[in-house]
Symmetry: C2
Subunit: 345 residues, 2 copies
C-alpha cells in the first residue's frame, strides 16, 4: 500500500470531486482525441480514409491480478496501461486513448487513487496516450480497474490472429517467463514476512524479474520496425496469457499446427536462476507464466534474413499444416503436445 | 440466482472455451463493426467525413450495483447494456458496439454466464447493437461487469453537458424515482425473507417500479424525435446518478444556475405510493434515486411549443445565470438549494 500520509476520504469530496482531482492535470496529446474526461462519453476521430478504430477492454481485480502488499499503486497504474495497450499493438495498431474505470473499496483514500493515477499518467506520457474518460464507483471489496484502450490502424495493415500460413516462422519479442518468476519471488517473500515480520524481503539480484512483474514495458517500437524493414506479419497477438496459450490461439484461429523449439525461446538469466531456486524447469514459466507483454507473430519464411536484423526478436519455431498438431520439439527430438494453462486470469 | 440446473464449471472449459460458448450465436448488425469477438481488439469504422466516434465505459459490481438474490442474471445482462448505451445517447449519439468484460467468481457456472449473455443479447437486439469483444477473468469475490459502449454522432450534432444557456428550458424524458423505489421494495422483501423464509415476497401492484429497477429501458427514440422536430438541445446528459446530481453536472459544466419546479417533475403513481409506504417524500427518489436511465436536456425558450408535442418529455424548470445558484422552488415559492447525493455508485 501507499506510504502517503494524508488521507482524504472519497466520501468527503464525492464521485465528481474525485474525478476532478484525478483528471486535473491531464494533457491531451493526440489530434484524434476530440472530447476527453468530463462528459458522458469520450469522442475520438480517426476519419482518414481506410483507417480502422480499434477498441479493447481489460479488467484487473485485486487478489487475482495484483496484491497491494507488494505492489505500489503507482506501479499498478503503470501496468494497467501496459496491459490495455498491448491489445491494440497486437493488431498492429497504435493506441491513442484510454478510458479508466475504477471500483474503489472504502479503505482507499483520495491520495492513494491519485498515486495510482500518477502511474497511469506516466505510462500514458511514455506511450503517447490520452486519458479520455472513464467511470468511478465504490466497491464492497478490493480495487477493480477496468481499462478500455482505443487506437487505430490502416485497414490494409491490420494483423489478426487468423492469418498464419504453413511454414511461417514464429517470432517473439523480448524474453518470456520473467514476470511470472518475479511474482513467485514476491509471493515467497510475502509469505516469509507473514510468518515473521522481522524478516526483510531479500530481492537483491532479481531486480529485472521483479521489474517485469511490477512495472512492465511493452515493445511499442515493433510496428515501426516492421514497417521500416517492410515485414508484414501474417498473424500476431500479445503474450499475456502465456506463450503456449497465445500461440495456440494463433494456431486455432488460423487452422494450423506448430512446432516450437524450447532452446530457441528467449529466457533471461534471472528467470533461469529463480526457476532453479524453485526447482522448476525454466520452460514452464516461459510457456505458461503469462503477463510477459511481448508480441508473438508469424512471418513467411522469406523474411528470415530480415527478422534476424530486428533487435530483441527471436524465431522460436514454425507453423505447420493443421494435421500435424501443436508440439514442442525437445533437443532430443521428442515431441510434447503444447497445452494451454487453465482458467486463471 | 439462476434456476438453471446444469452446472458446467468454467474451469472445465477454460477462458477461451467460455468466450467461444458465449459468443457462438452473435450476429453482426452494423456495417461499422469490422472485427468483432475473437481477436485482441475490436475494430470499428466510422470513417464518414464529420463523424465522431464515441466511447464510454461503465463498471457494475456485485453488492454495489446489484444483488443476485432478487436480480435474475438475464435481467442483469439487459440492464448492463442499458447502463452502457445511455452514455452514448447522452451525447446525442447512436450506440453500435459493446465490449463486455466479466470478472467471474468461482461459484458461477458456464450456464449462468450464458444466461447473463442471453439478457445482453436481447438488449443488443432491441437497440441494434453488436457485441464486439471483451475480456473474461476469474474473480475472488462476486461478479464484476465492465461494459464499454462505442457509437457515433455527427460532429455538428454532438451535445455536451456544457452548452446550457440562461433561460433555457430544462426537459426530462419518462418519469423519475421509480427504479429507486423498486429497489427499496425488493430490499424490504429480501429482509423479510431473510428473517422468515416461509414469507413469500409480495410485489403485486408494483410491477412497474420493479421492472424499472430490474429491467430498465432507455428512451432511445429521443435523438430521432429531436431531429424530426428540428430541436437542438444546448446541453444533455443521462439521468443515472439522480436528477439532482446530473442536472448539477450540466449547471457546473455550463457555468450556470437553475430553478427546478418539483410539481413538474414526472413521477409515476406507483413510485408515489411506494414512497408513501416508506414515509418518504416522492421528491427524494425523483431527485436522488438514480438509475432512471432517462435523458435530461436543455433547449432555448423558443422551442417550448415544439417540446410540448414530444411524447414523454416534460419541462421541469429553467437555467439561470450562475449567480442565482441552483435551487428547487416549492409550491409556496420557497427556494431550497439543490444538492447532489453522496458517493454511492
Amino acid at each position: 500500500m501507499s506510504k502517503t500520509e494524508k488521507k482524504t476520504t472519497i466520501n468527503s469530496i464525492g464521485k465528481y470531486g474525485l474525478i476532478e482531482r484525478i483528471t486535473a492535470n491531464i494533457n491531451i496529446r493526440n489530434r484524434s482525441t476530440i472530447i476527453a474526461a468530463g462528459d458522458d462519453s469520450a469522442a475520438v476521430r480517426y476519419a482518414e480514409e481506410g483507417k480502422l478504430t480499434l477498441v479493447s477492454t481489460d479488467l484487473m481485480l485485486e487478489g487475482i491480478h495484483f496484491n497491494l502488499v507488494y505492489t505500489p499503486l503507482k506501479h499498478l497504474g503503470y501496468k494497467a496501461v501496459i496491459r490495455a495497450i498491448s491489445d491494440i499493438y497486437a493488431m498492429n495498431g497504435k493506441p491513442e486513448q484510454l478510458l479508466i474505470s475504477l471500483g474503489i473499496g472504502s479503505r482507499f483514500s483520495v491520495e492513494e487513487i491519485e498515486e495510482l493515477y500518477v502511474g497511469i499518467a506516466l505510462a500514458c506520457k511514455k506511450y503517447g496516450i490520452d486519458i479520455a474518460g472513464g467511470d468511478t464507483t465504490s466497491s464492497l471489496t478490493g480495487l477493480t480497474i477496468g481499462v478500455t484502450a482505443v487506437g487505430s490502424v490502416d485497414s490494409d495493415r491490420v494483423i489478426r490472429r487468423s492469418g498464419a500460413g504453413a511454414n511461417d516462422l514464429i517470432c517473439v519479442t523480448g524474453d518470456l517467463g520473467a514476470a511470472y518468476m518475479g511474482l513467485q519471488l514476491l509471493e515467497r517473500e510475502r509469505k516469509l514476512f507473514d510468518q515473521n515480520s522481522s524478516v526483510q524481503p531479500d530481492l537483491s539480484g532479481y531486480e529485472y524479474i521483479i521489474g517485469r512483474q511490477l512495472k512492465p514495458e511493452f515493445p511499442g517500437e515493433l510496428p515501426d520496425m516492421l514497417e521500416k524493414y517492410n515485414i508484414i506479419p501474417t498473424a500476431m497477438t500479445d503474450v499475456s496469457e502465456g506463450l503456449a496459450s497465445d500461440l495456440l490461439q494463433i494456431c486455432q484461429h488460423s487452422d494450423k499446427g506448430c512446432r516450437l523449439f524450447p532452446d530457441k525461446i528467449p529466457v533471461d538469466q534471472e528467470t533461469v536462476r529463480m526457476a532453479e531456486e524453485f526447482r522448476i524447469d525454466p520452460l514452464v514459466p516461459a510457456l505458461n507464466g503469462g503477463e510477459d507483454f511481448e508480441l508473438i507473430f508469424t512471418v513467411p519464411l522469406e523474411f528470415f534474413e530480415k527478422i534476424k536484423k530486428l533487435k530483441d526478436v527471436k524465431v522460436i519455431g514454425h507453423i505447420t499444416q493443421p494435421e500435424y498438431g501443436c508440439f514442442i520439439v525437445t533437443d532430443e527430438g521428442e515431441e510434447i503436445e503444447l497445452e494451454a494453462q487453465g482458467w486463471k486470469k
